[in-house]
Point group: C2
Chain length 348, copies 2
C-alpha cells in the first residue's frame, strides 16, 4: 500500500496550541474530527491538558460542577503514596477511584490547503457538566444537509458515553446529550440515511462477555439508536487481535461503504485498516483487509506519549485521493494520502 | 417493612417445568417477567437448563446456528483440565472463552389466583440466532395499548444485549432485535410515554470507568434509545454497595414513579429496594430507601443455586397492594405482598 505522508508532518503539535488556562499545559493534540466547511479543511482537535506537577507531586485537572457553574480544579497526589498506581501515563489509580492525568477539550484548526493549519486560540467544545468531568475526546464529524454532527466521548467517573453536538460554522456549537451509554466510543455516523434510517458504527466495551469489537446501530433521528448488530471482531494472531474501532466516517463507493478503522494488538500497537460494508445493510461485511493500510513507521508515530499509535478520526475523499488525518503516538496530528482504488483492491 | 410471603412459596420450582429437550434438565426457574392478560396472571419464566454431566465431565449446552437453522449442541469439558476454571457454578472459563453452564429460555406460566401456576409444556421464546447462543434471560414485560413489550437479555460470546419482543396473548411472540448494545441488562420500559417519549431504566456494565449503576434512556418508538442519564449509583457500605439494577416495571403513583429495584453487595447478597422518580423527568430521583424493602430470609431465599438472592423482574399493583414475584436463590419463583403506601413512606 502506497502511503504518502505529508513532508510537513507533524502538522500540529502541542506547541501550536495555546492552553485553555494559564495553569495548564498542552501535552497532546491528536485524534481530530475532520470536515470541509466553506472552502476550508477543518480539524476538530482533541487537546489534552495537564496540570503542572513536579517530582514529588502529580497534579490532575478535573471539572467540578456546582450550582454556579463548572470549573476545572487541580487535585494532588503524592508520588510516594504506595496506595496509588502511577504506572500508566494516562491514568492515576487510587484505592477508591481512577483519575485521568489529562483533561481533553475540542479545539478547531482551520486550513486553506489541508496542510498548514491555524489553531483557534480558544476551545470550541469544553467540558461543562458532570458527565464531562474527565473531558471530551475523539470527535467524528458527519455533515448531513449543511449541519455538522459531532459524535465525541464524554468521560466522567460515571462512565464513558458518546455525546452528540452540532454546528453549522465551527464557531457556534450546540450540545445535544448522550447518544450511546457507557461504555462506548468510536462512533462514526454515516453521511446519509441507509434504507430510511441513519446508521452509525460504534464500539462497545463490555466487561463480562465479548471483546472490543465494532457494531452498527440505526436511528430515526440521530439522537436515539437501536437495532444493534455485531459488525467486525478481532482476529487472533492478527494486527487487530486486541481491538477494532471505527475511525473515519464511512465513505460511499460503488462497491460499498469504505471504512477506515483502527485495530490494535493487546499491547496497544495501533494501525489503520480498511473494511467494505454493504451499501444497503452496512452491518454486513463485504470484504476486509488482512493487512493494515498504514502502520506506525515515521519517527513521530513510533515515539511520543503512547508510542506506536496511528489513530484516525476522519478523512477526506476527493476523487481517488483519500487524505487521512490521524493522531500519531497520541501526541501530534499528521496527514497522509492514499488511493481509494488501491485500498479497495487490497480487500478480500 | 411488612412483607407477606405467600405460604405456598416457592410457587414454581424446576420440578414443575418440563425440559425443552430430553437430554437437558431444568436446574433453575427464576427471574420472571410479570403481566396481567385476559384475567390471568402471567409469569414469563427464565428457565435455565443444563446438559447432564458426571463427575469426570462437565457438559454445556450451546446454540449453534447454520444455514439450515439453529440447534443446541452439548460441549464437553473434562473436570481435571487445569486450564479451565469451574469455581463459579454459572460459568466455565477456558483459556480462549467463557461458557455458561446453563442455557436459558423464556416460558409462560399462567394463574387465575396469582399463586397457583400452570407452566406451559413448551418454551415461549427460545434462542434461535447467533446473538442468543448462550440463551435468553430476565424478561421485563410492559403493556402499552394492548401490546406486551418484553425486554430481555440475549446472551452470546459477542456480548450481553437487551432485545425486544412483543406479544398480545402470550401464545405468539415476535422478536424485534437488539435495543441496547453490550454490555447491558435490567431494562424496564415505563408503561406510558413521559413528556412525549418512551422511557426505560437500564443498567450498563462498563469496564474501565463507572460502576454497576442504573441509567435512564428515552425513545420515540421503543426500538431506538438515547438521551442517556445516570440515575442511581451504588452507595459505599450500604446493602446496594456492589450494584443496582431495575427490577419491576415502574409503577405510577401520585408522588412519582415507584421503582422496585435490586441491589447487591460485592459478594452477591441481593436485596430489593425502592426508589421514587420524578413523574415528568424520571431520570431525577425524588427519594430513595436507605434500607431494603425485602432481604433474603426464607429458607428458599437463603439456600439454592446462588444463596441469598431475591431478584424481581416484575410486580403487579392493585390499589395499595403490591404483589412482587421474584427469583429466590436463582433457583425458584416466589411471591410476596407489600403495601405501596408503606413503601412510599419509607423513602427519604
Amino acid at each position: 500500500m502506497k502511503v504518502y505522508r505529508y513532508p510537513e508532518n507533524p502538522l500540529i503539535t502541542p506547541e501550536d496550541v495555546k492552553p485553555s488556562r494559564p495553569d495548564l499545559e498542552v501535552v497532546c493534540v491528536f485524534n481530530a474530527g475532520v470536515a470541509s466547511c466553506r472552502g476550508e479543511t477543518i480539524l476538530l482537535l482533541r487537546v489534552a491538558e495537564r496540570a503542572i506537577g513536579d517530582e514529588r507531586c502529580a497534579r490532575v485537572p478535573v471539572l467540578e460542577c456546582g450550582k454556579d457553574g463548572s470549573c476545572i480544579v487541580v487535585k494532588e497526589f503524592k508520588r510516594d503514596d504506595s496506595s496509588c498506581d502511577f504506572s500508566d501515563p494516562r491514568v492515576i489509580a487510587t484505592p477508591d477511584q481512577v483519575f485521568l492525568t489529562t483533561i481533553s477539550h475540542l479545539r478547531v484548526a482551520r486550513s486553506k490547503d489541508g496542510r498548514k493549519f491555524t489553531v483557534d486560540p480558544n476551545p470550541g467544545l469544553y467540558p461543562d457538566r458532570p458527565s464531562e468531568s474527565f473531558g471530551l475526546e475523539d470527535p467524528r464529524i458527519t455533515e448531513i444537509g449543511g449541519t455538522y454532527y459531532i459524535a465525541y466521548k464524554s468521560v466522567s467517573p460515571t462512565g464513558i458515553c458518546v455525546s452528540l453536538a452540532t454546528t453549522t460554522d465551527f464557531y457556534e456549537f450546540q450540545k445535544l446529550g448522550h447518544i450511546f451509554c457507557p461504555e462506548n466510543l468510536d462512533v462514526c455516523i454515516f453521511p446519509e440515511k441507509v434504507h430510511g434510517r441513519y446508521a452509525a458504527l460504534h464500539r462497545p466495551v463490555p466487561r463480562f462477555l465479548g471483546s472490543l469489537n465494532m457494531w452498527v446501530a440505526y436511528s430515526p433521528d440521530l439522537m436515539h439508536w437501536g437495532d444493534h448488530h455485531f459488525l467486525l471482531g478481532t482476529e487472533a494472531g492478527s494486527w487487530d487481535s486486541g481491538r477494532t474501532g471505527g475511525g473515519a466516517v464511512p465513505i460511499r463507493t460503488e462497491k460499498g461503504w469504505l471504512e477506515i478503522y483502527h485495530g490494535a494488538t493487546p499491547d496497544d500497537h495501533y494501525c489503520l485498516g480498511a473494511v467494505l460494508l454493504d451499501l444497503n445493510e452496512p452491518h454486513k461485511v463485504i470484504a476486509r483487509g488482512r493487512e493494515p493500510i498504514m502502520k506506525p513507521e515515521a519517527e513521530y508515530e513510533t515515539h511520543g506519549f503512547m508510542p506506536n499509535v496511528v489513530f484516525s478520526c476522519g478523512a477526506l475523499a476527493d476523487g481517488d485521493k483519500l487524505t487521512i488525518y490521524y493522531g500519531a503516538a497520541d501526541m501530534v496530528i499528521a496527514g497522509a494520502e492514499l488511493s481509494i482504488s488501491e485500498i479497495l483492491e487490497s480487500l478480500s
